[in-house]
Protein backbone atom coordinates (compact mmCIF):
# COMPACT_ATOMS: atom_id res chain seq x y z
CA UNK A 1 0.00 0.00 0.00
CA UNK A 2 1.64 3.14 -1.19
CA UNK A 3 0.94 6.64 0.02
CA UNK A 4 -0.40 7.48 -3.41
CA UNK A 5 -2.94 4.70 -3.12
CA UNK A 6 -4.08 5.87 0.30
CA UNK A 7 -4.42 9.43 -0.93
CA UNK A 8 -6.50 8.23 -3.87
CA UNK A 9 -8.83 6.32 -1.57
CA UNK A 10 -8.93 9.39 0.64
CA UNK A 11 -9.82 11.70 -2.22
CA UNK A 12 -12.70 9.50 -3.33
CA UNK A 13 -13.86 9.20 0.26
CA UNK A 14 -13.87 12.99 0.53
CA UNK A 15 -15.95 13.31 -2.62
CA UNK A 16 -18.49 10.87 -1.20
CA UNK A 17 -18.56 12.75 2.09
CA UNK A 18 -19.65 15.84 0.18
CA UNK A 19 -22.31 13.73 -1.54
CA UNK A 20 -23.69 12.30 1.72
CA UNK A 21 -23.75 15.80 3.23
CA UNK A 22 -25.63 16.88 0.13
CA UNK A 23 -28.14 14.06 0.44
CA UNK A 24 -28.47 14.75 4.15
CA UNK A 25 -30.13 18.10 3.41
CA UNK A 26 -32.60 16.54 0.99
CA UNK A 27 -33.32 13.19 2.61
CA UNK A 28 -32.02 13.63 6.16
CA UNK A 29 -33.79 16.92 6.87
CA UNK A 30 -36.51 17.36 4.24
CA UNK A 31 -37.25 13.58 4.09
CA UNK A 32 -37.42 13.70 0.32
CA UNK A 33 -36.02 10.22 -0.25
CA UNK A 34 -33.82 10.32 -3.33
CA UNK A 35 -32.74 7.19 -5.12
CA UNK A 36 -31.37 9.36 -7.88
CA UNK A 37 -28.67 11.34 -6.19
CA UNK A 38 -25.98 10.12 -8.58
CA UNK A 39 -27.85 12.03 -11.30
CA UNK A 40 -27.16 15.33 -9.50
CA UNK A 41 -23.55 14.23 -8.99
CA UNK A 42 -23.32 13.37 -12.69
CA UNK A 43 -24.73 16.72 -13.77
CA UNK A 44 -22.00 18.43 -11.76
CA UNK A 45 -19.31 16.18 -13.22
CA UNK A 46 -20.51 16.62 -16.80
CA UNK A 47 -20.89 20.37 -16.39
CA UNK A 48 -17.29 20.55 -15.15
CA UNK A 49 -16.06 18.26 -17.93
CA UNK A 50 -17.77 20.26 -20.67
CA UNK A 51 -16.72 23.65 -19.32
CA UNK A 52 -13.13 22.44 -19.09
CA UNK A 53 -12.83 20.65 -22.43
CA UNK A 54 -15.18 22.59 -24.71
CA UNK A 55 -14.93 26.06 -23.23
CA UNK A 56 -11.40 25.84 -21.89
CA UNK A 57 -12.41 27.19 -18.49
CA UNK A 58 -10.12 26.45 -15.54
CA UNK A 59 -11.40 24.44 -12.58
CA UNK A 60 -11.75 27.61 -10.55
CA UNK A 61 -13.43 29.68 -13.23
CA UNK A 62 -15.82 26.83 -14.02
CA UNK A 63 -16.73 25.99 -10.42
CA UNK A 64 -19.31 28.76 -9.89
CA UNK A 65 -20.89 27.85 -13.25
CA UNK A 66 -20.92 24.16 -12.31
CA UNK A 67 -22.67 24.96 -9.04
CA UNK A 68 -25.14 27.23 -10.82
CA UNK A 69 -25.95 24.70 -13.53
CA UNK A 70 -26.35 21.84 -11.05
CA UNK A 71 -28.55 23.96 -8.79
CA UNK A 72 -30.83 25.05 -11.62
CA UNK A 73 -31.16 21.53 -13.06
CA UNK A 74 -31.59 20.21 -9.51
CA UNK A 75 -34.49 22.60 -8.88
CA UNK A 76 -36.05 21.53 -12.16
CA UNK A 77 -35.64 17.84 -11.32
CA UNK A 78 -37.09 18.51 -7.87
CA UNK A 79 -40.33 19.92 -9.23
CA UNK A 80 -42.12 16.53 -9.21
CA UNK A 81 -41.73 16.52 -5.42
CA UNK A 82 -44.25 19.34 -5.29
CA UNK A 83 -46.89 17.15 -6.86
CA UNK A 84 -46.30 13.57 -5.77
CA UNK A 85 -46.42 11.90 -2.38
CA UNK A 86 -43.33 10.45 -0.69
CA UNK A 87 -43.74 6.96 -2.17
CA UNK A 88 -44.07 8.22 -5.71
CA UNK A 89 -41.17 10.59 -5.26
CA UNK A 90 -38.94 7.57 -4.57
CA UNK A 91 -40.05 6.08 -7.86
CA UNK A 92 -39.61 9.31 -9.80
CA UNK A 93 -36.10 9.78 -8.40
CA UNK A 94 -35.18 6.28 -9.57
CA UNK A 95 -36.32 7.45 -12.98
CA UNK A 96 -33.92 10.41 -12.78
CA UNK A 97 -30.92 8.07 -12.97
CA UNK A 98 -32.12 6.70 -16.25
CA UNK A 99 -33.25 9.99 -17.75
CA UNK A 100 -30.01 11.78 -16.95
CA UNK A 101 -27.96 8.70 -17.91
CA UNK A 102 -29.73 8.50 -21.26
CA UNK A 103 -29.18 12.16 -21.99
CA UNK A 104 -25.45 11.70 -21.37
CA UNK A 105 -25.41 8.57 -23.49
CA UNK A 106 -27.47 9.53 -26.51
CA UNK A 107 -26.59 13.17 -27.07
CA UNK A 108 -23.28 13.66 -28.81
CA UNK A 109 -22.83 17.01 -27.04
CA UNK A 110 -22.25 14.95 -23.89
CA UNK A 111 -19.83 12.60 -25.61
CA UNK A 112 -22.22 9.66 -25.92
CA UNK A 113 -21.08 6.34 -24.52
CA UNK A 114 -17.47 7.35 -25.17
CA UNK A 115 -17.88 9.92 -22.42
CA UNK A 116 -15.67 12.99 -22.12
CA UNK A 117 -11.95 12.44 -21.65
CA UNK A 118 -8.80 14.51 -21.18
CA UNK A 119 -10.24 16.74 -18.49
CA UNK A 120 -7.21 18.71 -17.26
CA UNK A 121 -5.93 18.63 -13.71
CA UNK A 122 -6.68 21.89 -11.91
CA UNK A 123 -3.84 24.26 -11.22
CA UNK A 124 -3.17 26.59 -8.36
CA UNK A 125 -1.03 29.65 -9.20
CA UNK A 126 0.16 27.89 -12.34
CA UNK A 127 1.12 24.66 -10.59
CA UNK A 128 -0.87 21.49 -11.30
CA UNK A 129 -2.22 19.62 -8.28
CA UNK A 130 -0.43 16.32 -7.63
CA UNK A 131 -1.96 13.44 -5.68
CA UNK A 132 -1.16 15.10 -2.37
CA UNK A 133 -2.38 18.47 -3.57
CA UNK A 134 -5.66 17.08 -4.86
CA UNK A 135 -6.25 15.24 -1.60
CA UNK A 136 -5.73 18.57 0.15
CA UNK A 137 -8.03 20.35 -2.29
CA UNK A 138 -10.76 17.75 -1.79
CA UNK A 139 -10.55 17.97 1.97
CA UNK A 140 -10.63 21.73 1.85
CA UNK A 141 -14.00 21.31 0.13
CA UNK A 142 -15.05 18.60 2.60
CA UNK A 143 -14.25 21.02 5.43
CA UNK A 144 -16.25 23.72 3.69
CA UNK A 145 -19.16 21.31 3.23
CA UNK A 146 -19.05 20.23 6.88
CA UNK A 147 -18.87 23.81 8.17
CA UNK A 148 -21.69 25.06 5.97
CA UNK A 149 -23.74 21.99 6.93
CA UNK A 150 -23.21 22.71 10.60
CA UNK A 151 -24.23 26.30 10.01
CA UNK A 152 -27.33 25.24 8.11
CA UNK A 153 -28.31 22.75 10.82
CA UNK A 154 -28.65 25.72 13.18
CA UNK A 155 -30.90 27.78 10.95
CA UNK A 156 -34.65 28.25 10.66
CA UNK A 157 -34.42 26.55 7.29
CA UNK A 158 -33.31 23.25 8.82
CA UNK A 159 -36.13 23.39 11.37
CA UNK A 160 -38.66 24.11 8.63
CA UNK A 161 -37.37 21.21 6.53
CA UNK A 162 -37.49 18.75 9.41
CA UNK A 163 -41.00 19.96 10.22
CA UNK A 164 -42.54 19.50 6.77
CA UNK A 165 -40.43 16.38 6.27
CA UNK A 166 -42.42 14.81 9.06
CA UNK A 167 -45.84 16.39 8.56
CA UNK A 168 -46.67 18.77 5.73
CA UNK A 169 -50.14 19.56 7.07
CA UNK A 170 -48.85 20.61 10.47
CA UNK A 171 -45.93 22.49 8.91
CA UNK A 172 -48.30 24.67 6.89
CA UNK A 173 -50.08 25.62 10.10
CA UNK A 174 -46.69 26.86 11.37
CA UNK A 175 -46.48 29.31 8.47
CA UNK A 176 -44.16 27.15 6.37
CA UNK A 177 -44.43 27.44 2.60
CA UNK A 178 -43.78 23.75 1.99
CA UNK A 179 -43.31 24.04 -1.78
CA UNK A 180 -40.71 26.78 -1.40
CA UNK A 181 -38.73 24.84 1.19
CA UNK A 182 -38.76 21.68 -0.93
CA UNK A 183 -37.23 23.70 -3.73
CA UNK A 184 -34.65 25.08 -1.28
CA UNK A 185 -33.79 21.53 -0.24
CA UNK A 186 -33.27 20.41 -3.82
CA UNK A 187 -31.28 23.56 -4.64
CA UNK A 188 -28.91 23.35 -1.66
CA UNK A 189 -28.46 19.62 -2.07
CA UNK A 190 -27.70 19.99 -5.79
CA UNK A 191 -25.15 22.73 -5.16
CA UNK A 192 -23.10 20.39 -2.95
CA UNK A 193 -23.50 17.58 -5.48
CA UNK A 194 -22.19 19.90 -8.19
CA UNK A 195 -18.98 20.51 -6.25
CA UNK A 196 -18.56 16.78 -5.69
CA UNK A 197 -19.05 16.21 -9.43
CA UNK A 198 -16.47 18.81 -10.39
CA UNK A 199 -13.93 17.29 -8.00
CA UNK A 200 -14.59 13.85 -9.45
CA UNK A 201 -14.34 14.94 -13.10
CA UNK A 202 -11.06 16.76 -12.63
CA UNK A 203 -9.56 14.00 -10.51
CA UNK A 204 -10.47 11.04 -12.70
CA UNK A 205 -9.91 13.06 -15.88
CA UNK A 206 -12.87 11.52 -17.67
CA UNK A 207 -16.61 11.05 -17.22
CA UNK A 208 -18.81 8.24 -18.55
CA UNK A 209 -22.56 7.77 -18.21
CA UNK A 210 -22.05 4.57 -16.18
CA UNK A 211 -20.22 6.50 -13.46
CA UNK A 212 -23.46 8.10 -12.35
CA UNK A 213 -26.01 5.31 -12.51
CA UNK A 214 -28.61 3.87 -10.20
CA UNK A 215 -26.05 1.70 -8.35
CA UNK A 216 -24.11 4.83 -7.40
CA UNK A 217 -27.31 6.41 -6.08
CA UNK A 218 -27.84 3.36 -3.89
CA UNK A 219 -24.25 3.66 -2.62
CA UNK A 220 -24.77 7.26 -1.57
CA UNK A 221 -28.07 6.58 0.15
CA UNK A 222 -26.61 3.49 1.89
CA UNK A 223 -23.73 5.58 3.25
CA UNK A 224 -26.07 8.17 4.70
CA UNK A 225 -28.46 5.62 6.15
CA UNK A 226 -25.58 3.64 7.65
CA UNK A 227 -24.11 6.71 9.32
CA UNK A 228 -27.41 8.22 10.40
CA UNK A 229 -29.99 10.21 8.44
CA UNK A 230 -30.32 13.81 9.52
CA UNK A 231 -26.92 14.11 11.20
CA UNK A 232 -23.67 15.56 9.88
CA UNK A 233 -21.50 13.14 11.86
CA UNK A 234 -23.53 10.28 10.37
CA UNK A 235 -23.09 11.53 6.82
CA UNK A 236 -19.32 11.83 7.22
CA UNK A 237 -18.90 8.54 9.07
CA UNK A 238 -21.13 6.57 6.67
CA UNK A 239 -19.17 7.71 3.63
CA UNK A 240 -15.92 6.86 5.39
CA UNK A 241 -17.07 3.39 6.37
CA UNK A 242 -18.59 2.32 3.07
CA UNK A 243 -15.78 3.81 1.01
CA UNK A 244 -12.82 2.56 3.05
CA UNK A 245 -14.11 -0.83 4.16
CA UNK A 246 -14.38 -2.32 0.65
CA UNK A 247 -10.85 -1.08 -0.02
CA UNK A 248 -9.57 -2.76 3.10
CA UNK A 249 -11.49 -5.97 2.47
CA UNK A 250 -10.60 -6.62 -1.14
CA UNK A 251 -12.93 -9.56 -1.57
CA UNK A 252 -15.98 -7.35 -0.98
CA UNK A 253 -15.20 -5.13 -3.91
CA UNK A 254 -16.78 -7.36 -6.50
CA UNK A 255 -19.95 -7.34 -4.43
CA UNK A 256 -20.16 -3.61 -3.92
CA UNK A 257 -23.76 -3.41 -5.05
CA UNK A 258 -24.65 -6.31 -2.77
CA UNK A 259 -22.98 -4.60 0.19
CA UNK A 260 -24.74 -1.27 -0.38
CA UNK A 261 -28.08 -2.96 -0.93
CA UNK A 262 -27.72 -5.16 2.14
CA UNK A 263 -26.58 -2.24 4.31
CA UNK A 264 -29.60 -0.23 3.21
CA UNK A 265 -32.07 -3.03 3.84
CA UNK A 266 -30.59 -4.18 7.16
CA UNK A 267 -30.23 -0.69 8.58
CA UNK A 268 -33.81 0.16 7.68
CA UNK A 269 -35.05 -2.91 9.52
CA UNK A 270 -32.76 -2.96 12.55
CA UNK A 271 -31.36 0.51 13.09
CA UNK A 272 -33.23 3.07 10.98
CA UNK A 273 -31.54 5.94 12.79
CA UNK A 274 -28.14 4.74 11.53
CA UNK A 275 -25.05 3.97 13.55
CA UNK A 276 -24.58 7.52 14.78
CA UNK A 277 -28.02 9.02 14.22
CA UNK A 278 -30.28 10.56 16.86
CA UNK A 279 -31.54 7.81 19.14
CA UNK A 280 -29.25 5.15 17.67
CA UNK A 281 -27.67 2.52 19.87
CA UNK A 282 -24.08 3.69 19.42
CA UNK A 283 -24.97 7.35 19.82
CA UNK A 284 -26.92 6.78 23.02
CA UNK A 285 -24.10 4.60 24.34
CA UNK A 286 -21.52 7.24 23.58
CA UNK A 287 -23.67 9.89 25.27
CA UNK A 288 -23.92 7.65 28.30
CA UNK A 289 -20.17 7.09 28.39
CA UNK A 290 -19.56 10.80 27.96
CA UNK A 291 -21.95 11.69 30.75
CA UNK A 292 -20.30 9.12 32.96
CA UNK A 293 -16.94 10.61 32.15
CA UNK A 294 -18.10 14.16 32.78
CA UNK A 295 -19.66 13.21 36.09
CA UNK A 296 -16.40 11.59 37.06
CA UNK A 297 -14.51 14.76 36.29
CA UNK A 298 -17.06 17.00 37.95
CA UNK A 299 -17.05 15.05 41.20
CA UNK A 300 -13.28 15.26 41.22
CA UNK A 301 -12.93 11.48 41.12
CA UNK A 302 -9.39 10.28 40.51
Amino acid sequence: MTLGYLLTVGTFTGIFMILTLSLNILTGYAKQVSLGHAAFFGIGAYAAAILATKFGLSFWAALPCVVAVTTVVGIFLGLPSLRVSHDFLVLSTIGLNFIVGSVFKYFSFFGGSMGIVDIPTPTFFGKAFGTVGYFGLTFAFVTLAVLTSIYFSRTWGRLAMEAFGEDETAAKAMGINVAKFKIYAFAISSAYAGIAGALWAHYVGSVFPENFGFDRSIDILAMLVLGGLGTIRGAVFGALLLQVLPEALRFIQDYRMLVSGAVLALMMVFQPMGLLGKGSFLYLRSLGILRHFRRGVASGAP
Binding site: Y151, F152, R154, T155, W156, G157, L159, A160, E162, A163, E166, D167, T169, A170, A171, K172, A173, M174, G175, I176, N177, V178, F181, Y184, K278, G279
Partner: protein, 250 residues
Amino acid sequence: MELLETEGLTKDFGGLRAVDHVDLVVRRGEIHGVIGPNGAGKTTLFNLITGYLRPTYGAIHFKERRIDGLPTHRIVTLGIARTFQIVRPFTELSVLENVLVAWGHRYYRKTGPFRPYANARRRAREILESVGLADRADIPAGTLPIGLQRRLEIARAMALEPELMLLDEPAAGLTEEEIGGLKELVGRIVATGVTVVLVEHRMSFVMDICEVITVLDHGRVIAEGAPEEVAHDPAVIEAYLGTGSVNAAG
Protein backbone atom coordinates in the same frame (compact mmCIF):
# COMPACT_ATOMS: atom_id res chain seq x y z
CA MET B 1 -66.14 45.00 9.82
CA GLU B 2 -65.41 42.58 12.63
CA LEU B 3 -62.17 40.60 13.04
CA LEU B 4 -63.42 37.56 11.14
CA GLU B 5 -66.48 37.33 8.95
CA THR B 6 -67.63 34.55 6.69
CA GLU B 7 -70.36 35.16 4.15
CA GLY B 8 -72.45 32.33 2.78
CA LEU B 9 -69.55 29.99 3.37
CA THR B 10 -70.31 26.63 1.78
CA LYS B 11 -68.29 23.46 1.24
CA ASP B 12 -69.44 20.42 -0.70
CA PHE B 13 -67.69 17.06 -0.64
CA GLY B 14 -69.18 15.39 -3.67
CA GLY B 15 -72.86 15.21 -2.85
CA LEU B 16 -72.37 16.03 0.83
CA ARG B 17 -72.76 19.63 1.94
CA ALA B 18 -70.47 19.77 4.98
CA VAL B 19 -70.75 23.53 5.51
CA ASP B 20 -73.89 25.24 4.31
CA HIS B 21 -74.13 29.03 3.90
CA VAL B 22 -72.49 29.87 7.19
CA ASP B 23 -72.27 33.55 8.17
CA LEU B 24 -69.94 33.54 11.13
CA VAL B 25 -68.97 36.81 12.80
CA VAL B 26 -66.16 36.79 15.35
CA ARG B 27 -65.52 40.02 17.23
CA ARG B 28 -62.16 41.15 18.59
CA GLY B 29 -61.42 39.91 22.10
CA GLU B 30 -64.25 37.40 22.45
CA ILE B 31 -64.21 33.69 23.14
CA HIS B 32 -66.53 32.31 20.53
CA GLY B 33 -67.77 28.75 20.88
CA VAL B 34 -68.72 26.58 17.92
CA ILE B 35 -70.65 23.49 18.88
CA GLY B 36 -72.68 20.86 17.12
CA PRO B 37 -73.11 17.09 16.87
CA ASN B 38 -70.50 14.84 15.24
CA GLY B 39 -70.15 15.60 11.55
CA ALA B 40 -71.82 19.02 11.89
CA GLY B 41 -69.01 20.65 9.91
CA LYS B 42 -67.01 22.31 12.69
CA THR B 43 -63.60 21.04 11.63
CA THR B 44 -64.43 21.70 7.99
CA LEU B 45 -65.22 25.30 8.96
CA PHE B 46 -61.74 25.61 10.52
CA ASN B 47 -60.17 24.01 7.45
CA LEU B 48 -61.88 26.59 5.25
CA ILE B 49 -60.81 29.54 7.40
CA THR B 50 -57.19 28.35 7.50
CA GLY B 51 -56.94 27.63 3.80
CA TYR B 52 -56.69 23.85 3.95
CA LEU B 53 -59.89 23.68 1.91
CA ARG B 54 -61.26 25.99 -0.78
CA PRO B 55 -64.87 27.06 -0.26
CA THR B 56 -67.38 25.88 -2.84
CA TYR B 57 -69.15 29.23 -2.40
CA GLY B 58 -68.79 32.19 -0.12
CA ALA B 59 -66.12 34.50 1.18
CA ILE B 60 -63.95 34.83 4.27
CA HIS B 61 -62.73 38.21 5.51
CA PHE B 62 -60.09 38.62 8.20
CA LYS B 63 -59.13 42.13 9.28
CA GLU B 64 -61.14 43.48 6.32
CA ARG B 65 -59.11 41.46 3.93
CA ARG B 66 -60.40 38.63 1.81
CA ILE B 67 -58.44 35.50 2.73
CA ASP B 68 -60.26 32.64 1.02
CA GLY B 69 -58.04 31.31 -1.73
CA LEU B 70 -54.83 32.26 0.08
CA PRO B 71 -52.45 29.42 0.96
CA THR B 72 -52.37 28.30 4.59
CA HIS B 73 -48.91 29.66 5.34
CA ARG B 74 -49.98 33.14 4.22
CA ILE B 75 -53.09 33.03 6.38
CA VAL B 76 -50.92 32.03 9.35
CA THR B 77 -48.61 34.98 8.83
CA LEU B 78 -51.66 37.27 8.61
CA GLY B 79 -52.49 36.26 12.18
CA ILE B 80 -54.65 33.13 12.36
CA ALA B 81 -53.34 30.11 14.28
CA ARG B 82 -55.11 26.78 14.71
CA THR B 83 -54.75 23.58 16.64
CA PHE B 84 -55.71 20.16 15.31
CA GLN B 85 -58.50 18.00 16.68
CA ILE B 86 -56.23 14.99 16.21
CA VAL B 87 -52.95 16.33 17.54
CA ARG B 88 -50.09 16.65 15.06
CA PRO B 89 -46.85 17.23 16.95
CA PHE B 90 -43.58 16.86 15.02
CA THR B 91 -42.89 13.64 16.89
CA GLU B 92 -39.17 13.38 16.14
CA LEU B 93 -38.41 16.96 17.04
CA SER B 94 -38.03 17.91 20.68
CA VAL B 95 -40.85 19.71 22.48
CA LEU B 96 -38.77 22.89 22.37
CA GLU B 97 -38.06 22.52 18.65
CA ASN B 98 -41.80 22.14 18.03
CA VAL B 99 -42.37 25.55 19.55
CA LEU B 100 -39.36 26.97 17.69
CA VAL B 101 -40.81 25.79 14.37
CA ALA B 102 -43.89 27.88 15.12
CA TRP B 103 -41.90 30.85 16.41
CA GLY B 104 -39.99 30.72 13.12
CA HIS B 105 -43.04 31.75 11.08
CA ARG B 106 -41.66 35.26 10.84
CA TYR B 107 -38.33 33.96 9.50
CA TYR B 108 -39.59 31.74 6.71
CA ARG B 109 -39.37 34.52 4.15
CA LYS B 110 -36.52 36.25 2.33
CA THR B 111 -33.15 35.45 3.97
CA GLY B 112 -34.71 34.35 7.26
CA PRO B 113 -34.37 30.60 6.59
CA PHE B 114 -30.60 31.03 6.41
CA ARG B 115 -30.31 32.68 9.79
CA PRO B 116 -29.60 30.75 13.01
CA TYR B 117 -32.40 30.21 15.48
CA ALA B 118 -30.36 30.04 18.67
CA ASN B 119 -31.53 33.43 19.92
CA ALA B 120 -35.16 32.35 19.90
CA ARG B 121 -34.62 29.47 22.33
CA ARG B 122 -35.21 31.62 25.38
CA ARG B 123 -38.53 32.89 24.12
CA ALA B 124 -39.61 29.36 23.19
CA ARG B 125 -38.73 28.19 26.68
CA GLU B 126 -40.84 30.96 28.19
CA ILE B 127 -43.80 29.79 26.15
CA LEU B 128 -43.24 26.22 27.33
CA GLU B 129 -43.06 27.47 30.91
CA SER B 130 -46.35 29.30 30.53
CA VAL B 131 -48.09 26.09 29.42
CA GLY B 132 -46.31 23.94 31.99
CA LEU B 133 -44.11 21.98 29.61
CA ALA B 134 -40.74 23.47 30.50
CA ASP B 135 -39.48 20.34 32.23
CA ARG B 136 -40.09 18.29 29.07
CA ALA B 137 -38.51 20.73 26.65
CA ASP B 138 -35.80 18.40 25.41
CA ILE B 139 -37.62 15.11 24.94
CA PRO B 140 -39.06 14.06 21.56
CA ALA B 141 -42.59 15.45 21.26
CA GLY B 142 -43.91 12.03 20.23
CA THR B 143 -43.20 10.66 23.69
CA LEU B 144 -45.50 13.13 25.49
CA PRO B 145 -48.78 11.76 26.86
CA ILE B 146 -51.89 12.93 24.99
CA GLY B 147 -52.87 15.58 27.53
CA LEU B 148 -49.49 17.23 27.19
CA GLN B 149 -49.51 16.90 23.40
CA ARG B 150 -52.68 19.00 23.45
CA ARG B 151 -50.83 21.58 25.53
CA LEU B 152 -48.02 21.54 22.99
CA GLU B 153 -50.56 22.23 20.21
CA ILE B 154 -51.60 25.34 22.11
CA ALA B 155 -48.00 26.29 22.86
CA ARG B 156 -47.22 26.22 19.14
CA ALA B 157 -50.31 28.30 18.40
CA MET B 158 -49.14 30.82 21.03
CA ALA B 159 -45.69 30.95 19.45
CA LEU B 160 -47.35 32.05 16.22
CA GLU B 161 -48.47 35.17 18.13
CA PRO B 162 -51.80 35.26 16.29
CA GLU B 163 -54.67 37.69 16.61
CA LEU B 164 -57.14 34.87 16.16
CA MET B 165 -56.68 31.38 17.57
CA LEU B 166 -58.87 28.49 16.43
CA LEU B 167 -58.91 25.63 18.93
CA ASP B 168 -60.39 22.36 17.69
CA GLU B 169 -61.56 20.32 20.68
CA PRO B 170 -58.67 21.15 23.00
CA ALA B 171 -60.36 19.38 25.92
CA ALA B 172 -60.94 16.04 24.17
CA GLY B 173 -59.47 13.20 26.18
CA LEU B 174 -58.45 15.40 29.10
CA THR B 175 -59.23 14.65 32.76
CA GLU B 176 -61.41 17.05 34.77
CA GLU B 177 -58.30 18.39 36.45
CA GLU B 178 -56.56 18.99 33.13
CA ILE B 179 -59.66 20.79 31.85
CA GLY B 180 -59.41 23.16 34.80
CA GLY B 181 -55.86 23.96 33.75
CA LEU B 182 -56.94 24.40 30.13
CA LYS B 183 -59.67 26.90 31.10
CA GLU B 184 -57.13 28.90 33.00
CA LEU B 185 -54.70 28.78 30.05
CA VAL B 186 -57.32 29.90 27.51
CA GLY B 187 -58.21 32.72 29.92
CA ARG B 188 -54.59 33.85 29.99
CA ILE B 189 -54.33 33.73 26.20
CA VAL B 190 -57.44 35.88 25.83
CA ALA B 191 -56.07 38.28 28.41
CA THR B 192 -53.14 38.99 26.09
CA GLY B 193 -55.59 40.28 23.50
CA VAL B 194 -56.02 37.14 21.39
CA THR B 195 -59.47 36.31 20.06
CA VAL B 196 -60.40 32.65 20.39
CA VAL B 197 -62.80 30.43 18.47
CA LEU B 198 -63.35 27.20 20.33
CA VAL B 199 -64.83 24.00 18.96
CA GLU B 200 -65.75 21.70 21.81
CA HIS B 201 -67.93 18.76 22.71
CA ARG B 202 -67.54 19.17 26.46
CA MET B 203 -70.58 21.32 27.01
CA SER B 204 -69.76 22.47 30.53
CA PHE B 205 -66.43 23.75 29.30
CA VAL B 206 -67.95 25.74 26.42
CA MET B 207 -70.80 27.12 28.52
CA ASP B 208 -68.28 28.21 31.12
CA ILE B 209 -65.84 30.24 29.08
CA CYS B 210 -67.56 31.34 25.87
CA GLU B 211 -69.34 34.67 25.48
CA VAL B 212 -71.02 33.71 22.22
CA ILE B 213 -71.88 30.31 20.88
CA THR B 214 -72.70 29.31 17.32
CA VAL B 215 -74.44 25.98 16.90
CA LEU B 216 -73.96 24.02 13.70
CA ASP B 217 -76.00 21.05 12.54
CA HIS B 218 -75.58 19.41 9.15
CA GLY B 219 -73.37 22.30 8.15
CA ARG B 220 -75.97 24.96 8.93
CA VAL B 221 -76.11 27.51 11.72
CA ILE B 222 -79.17 26.55 13.75
CA ALA B 223 -78.67 28.92 16.68
CA GLU B 224 -76.40 31.65 17.89
CA GLY B 225 -76.18 33.73 21.04
CA ALA B 226 -75.16 33.80 24.67
CA PRO B 227 -74.62 30.36 26.31
CA GLU B 228 -77.91 30.40 28.33
CA GLU B 229 -79.95 31.36 25.27
CA VAL B 230 -78.41 28.67 23.12
CA ALA B 231 -78.77 26.01 25.79
CA HIS B 232 -82.52 26.57 25.95
CA ASP B 233 -83.05 26.91 22.21
CA PRO B 234 -85.51 24.22 21.08
CA ALA B 235 -83.69 23.69 17.77
CA VAL B 236 -80.44 23.02 19.62
CA ILE B 237 -82.02 20.59 22.05
CA GLU B 238 -83.67 18.88 19.12
CA ALA B 239 -80.38 18.58 17.20
CA TYR B 240 -78.59 17.08 20.15
CA LEU B 241 -81.41 14.82 21.24
CA GLY B 242 -81.77 13.74 17.62
CA THR B 243 -78.28 12.35 17.64
CA GLY B 244 -78.46 11.46 21.31
CA SER B 245 -74.84 12.49 21.79
CA VAL B 246 -74.81 15.35 24.22
CA ASN B 247 -77.16 17.04 26.60
CA ALA B 248 -77.01 20.61 25.39
CA ALA B 249 -78.27 22.03 28.63
CA GLY B 250 -75.58 20.10 30.57
